[in-house]
């Protein structure tokens, strides 16, 4: 996030009364990291060790162990020490987004506890729980589809046909009577994130939310493209942090 972005001065929508002035922490190179990590000694694990912790735990850091990879002589010169797998990221993002938007029971991230947190941290009056006599009502959030809109999406998914080998037969995964989508393989999630997200929720979600979801769709498509352009990647970096803030 650039320091002059308008979200940086936003006092109301993220955390109430707090303006985020800090910039992102500097990304350390492997050598610098090695210096930091080697300051902490070794830790014994197992029953004989009486629960040792590195000094400064909870204050300066929350590290509980030093990865044994640091003992490899070349580890500190690796540019990319850990490879984030887009497959799992896409799968989890898909599940979170889909289950929240479709308000799937026990899977949605917009649950009662989330609403209780909102009262503490945010200032979003239209999403707080409402006491109605002896009942507590959870008002529908703007990003959650109405029941008939959900049905429309499921019906549309039911009628989908893909080219052979493109994805598994998604229509088979829909249980219409329960209104649920079961057994998505991670590659189906990949296909959904890459192509279907903007189509599925078009005209059903409010414009701003649909825009944000579509931006995610474009982002994963660009990231997964087989031809990459260095300038384009620099742009992507900016976009990814903006999306994150947009959704937040």
């Amino acid at each position: 996030m650039p320091p002059n972005h308008k979200y940086k001065n936003n006092r109301n929508d993220f955390f109430v009364g707090r303006v985020e002035k800090d910039v992102a922490p500097p990304s350390l190179s492997g050598e610098e990291f090695h210096d930091v990590v080697s300051e902490y000694g070794d830790i014994m694990f197992g029953l004989q060790s009486d629960k040792q912790k590195f000094s400064g735990f909870g204050l300066n850091h929350i590290w509980v162990k030093r990865s044994i990879f640091w003992e490899l002589p070349y580890w500190k010169t690796n540019l990319l020490r850990h490879n984030l797998d887009i497959m799992h990221i896409e799968k989890n993002m898909f599940e979170n987004i889909f289950n929240t938007v479709m308000n799937v029971k026990r899977k949605t991230k917009d649950n009662i506890k989330a609403r209780l947190d909102l009262v503490v941290f945010c200032n979003r009056k239209n999403m707080e729980l409402v006491c109605d006599g002896s009942r507590v009502v959870k008002p529908r959030a703007s990003f959650v589809l109405e029941k008939n809109a959900q049905l429309l999406v499921y019906k549309w998914l039911k009628s989908l046909r893909f080219p052979d080998g493109h994805a598994s037969n998604i229509s088979r995964l829909i249980k219409m009577e329960e209104c649920r989508l079961y057994e998505m393989k991670s590659h189906d999630c990949h296909v959904f994130m890459q192509t279907l997200i903007p189509l599925a929720f078009r005209d059903l979600l409010p414009k701003g939310i649909w825009d944000a979801l579509t931006e995610i769709n474009h982002f994963v498509r660009d990231i997964c493209s087989s031809k990459l352009n260095v300038d384009h990647i620099k742009g992507l970096k900016r976009i990814s942090s903006r999306q994150y803030a947009n959704l937040r």
Partner: protein, 45 residues
């Protein structure tokens, strides 16, 4: 300002790092897990 804070677990943060990984490591197709996940089926059989 769409989703509530609890939506954002660590998984939603990871895409922020992806552009750097693509820059350093090249196209994702060479680094993703799909072929190995398929191989798991073969091994299990």
């Amino acid at each position: 300002m769409i989703f509530p804070p609890s939506f954002f677990d660590s998984m939603e943060h990871l895409p922020v790092h992806l552009p750097f990984e693509v820059k350093v490591g090249g196209p994702v197709q060479y680094r993703w897990m799909y072929p190995f996940e398929r191989l798991d089926i073969t091994i299990a059989m």
